[in-house]
């Protein structure tokens, strides 16, 4: 177990810069998830930590040890790959112990280590099979066993669940989380799936175009996204964005949204200091679907965090637990999350409640959070 620090790490392939000054630090036992759309540089970053590629600039430390020029095998890391990368010619047992064998661990110790890991992952019955005789989920377990058996400082996972079907993926996700809780190991995990990121991470690093967008706990990233990209990427269905103006409404700041006929005015309940500089200016109003629902009880009382407005309903999409209700405001489609028993029919007009304590405002030019 060890901490991991990335200090101003850069990576360029010729003139193309794929990672721009990445600074990250996690404590011993943390679960860091690198998340972002394809091509954002998250896998390259993982390869740098693994030592499969070398950084152009900056420093990578495991514990207090600078590992930039250390060979992968001496970094005391273990990696689980997307394709599992099991050695097809070896049995499961051989696959798991190959690394130990290369390192000169005695046969006795290897047998004990493989027995422990097999028990932990419940793959004892598979030890003498070849990878081709295993199902996807079993291969996944063996790949994890190969990493676990080495008892490394840091585990690296490169999209380990993306080759599994949906049901199995959820199961394995829980299992990885359990494993982390039991072993308390330091993990760096790459995924493009924001739900995986939210459920697994102790901290998330959101990346885009080789730039670290935000590095924080899942809840902070969800509630206080740094910019519009993070706000839109994390959460499903994603955050609604509407162009609006911040106005002074009788001494209280309010978000005003232009709408044919009757503009919507949403007074801000306890507006933060930072909003004041934007009074009278254009902003992007961001609200998550679950903060926008059917009319809440108590929303008519003065000083309530809920603000009501009416809108015509365009489309409804029932999901069972909630009904996603699509309305149109200022030419934008907005999704509200409504309880099924309160769900409207399309074409109907309905009163919605916006929870103003859960909104985000962004600068329309820089797209940064205000």
């Amino acid at each position: 177990m060890a901490s991991l620090t990335l200090d101003k790490v850069r990576k360029a392939f010729g003139p193309v810069e794929v990672l721009k000054e990445i600074n990250l630090a996690i404590e011993d036992g943390e679960f860091l998830v690198l998340v972002g759309p394809s091509g954002c540089g998250k896998s390259t970053l993982l390869n740098l930590i693994a030592g499969l590629e070398s950084s152009t600039d900056g420093e990578i430390r495991i514990g207090d040890r600078v590992i930039n020029d250390v060979h992968p095998k001496d970094r005391n890391i273990a990696m689980v790959f997307q394709s599992y990368a099991l050695y097809p010619n070896m049995t499961v047992r051989k696959n798991i112990t190959f690394g130990l064998e290369i390192r000169g661990v005695s046969a006795q110790e290897r047998d004990k280590a493989v027995a422990d890991v097999a028990k932990l992952l419940q793959i004892e019955a598979l030890l003498d099979r070849k990878p081709s005789q295993l199902s996807g989920g079993q291969r996944q377990r063996v790949a994890m066993g190969r990493a676990l058996v080495r008892d490394p400082d840091i585990f690296l996972f490169d999209e380990p669940l993306s080759n599994l079907d949906a049901k199995l993926r959820v199961d394995m996700r829980t299992e990885i989380k359990k494993l982390h809780q039991r072993l308390g190991s330091t993990i760096v995990y790459v995924t493009h799936d924001q739900i995986e990121a939210m459920t697994l991470a102790s901290r998330i690093a959101v990346m885009k175009d080789g730039i670290l967008q935000q590095f924080d706990t899942p809840q902070n990233i969800y509630e206080r996204p740094n910019n519009m990209f993070v706000a839109g990427f994390i959460g499903s269905p994603s955050m609604n964005f509407v162009n609006a103006t911040l106005i002074d409404n009788n001494g209280q700041l309010a978000v005003s949204i232009e709408r044919e006929g009757n503009p919507i005015t949403l007074p801000l309940f306890e507006a933060p200091e930072s909003y004041k500089a934007y009074a009278g200016k254009k902003v992007v109003f961001g609200i998550r679907p679950e903060a926008l629902t059917h009319k809440r009880t108590g929303s008519d009382e003065p000083g309530s965090q809920y603000v009501n407005f009416d809108s015509k309903v365009e489309v409804i999409e029932p999901t069972g637990a909630d009904t996603m209700t699509v309305i149109e405001i200022a030419g934008k489609e907005i999704v509200a999350r409504v309880r099924p028993d309160r769900a409207p029919t399309p074409g109907e007009s309905m009163t919605f409640s916006a929870d103003m304590s859960q909104i985000s405002l962004f600068d329309p030019d820089t797209e940064l959070r205000i």
């Binding site: 693994a50 030592g51 499969l52 890391i77 990368a85 050695y87 690394g99 390192r103």
Partner: protein, 295 residues
Amino acid sequence: MADLQTYSHDAGWKNTVLRGLLYLVLILFAAYYLFPLIVMVSTSLKSLDEIREGSLISLPRVVTFDAWNYAWNEACVGVECTGIKIYFWNSVKMAIPAVLISTFLGAINGYALTKWRFKGANIVFALLLFGCFIPFQVVLLPMSQVLGKLGLASSTPGLVMVHVVYGLCFTTLFFRNYYVSIPDELVKAATIDGAGFFTIFWRIILPISTPIIVVSVIWQFTQIWNDFLFGASFASGENAPMTVALNNIVNTTTGVKQYNVDMAAALLTGLPTLLVYVLAGKYFVRGLTAGSVKG
């Protein structure tokens, strides 16, 4: 319903005719290719008298292996009348090392070109590929000079070297294309496990290369065993490979033309490659298509 039945009846009749035609054509082609072999085998089993009396295509009245025995033990190659057997062993001594070395080097080349990509790997591969298209005749003179300087002229090791150099392009191409389909993550995983270039090659890559090794061995063995030009140019006299010796037996101008001995010697020369195909042929086809199958 009635219409449908008439239709299917028609179609069935048509199918039978077409199928009959197809078989007829296939049988004709098979006969075309088999006929020379039949003539060779039957002639080699006849006595010289019978050959003179009977027709070319008649089967032997009395089967005798005298011609085979004579070709193997007594036939005259040039002035030496030692049979073709010493040249058979020459060919074995040339083909086996050349096949093994060129296959092994091709495997290492393919592995390095795909899994340890270095700057200019594509150019190196393109140049190697270019070697596949150089005609044998072009390199005869420079090669003989090189062999002379190395002191390997007119020797079996010299021939081995020539065949290794010439075969390298093909074997590299085979192995490179096979290894391209093997995921790079396998090598990355082994690197993290602590294995180096050769450990990964021996323990992981080579054990999963059986299909392409078979392809390479068959291809190289056929090429090297059947080669005449290099054998005739770079090895002479008692070091000549079997193909050259066969030519010398058949083209001897003195004495009576012993057709049965010629045929037996030719069959003996062709036998090893035939044997390799029979033993490993199914792997050959499997290996050629192996790239498309996920491991």
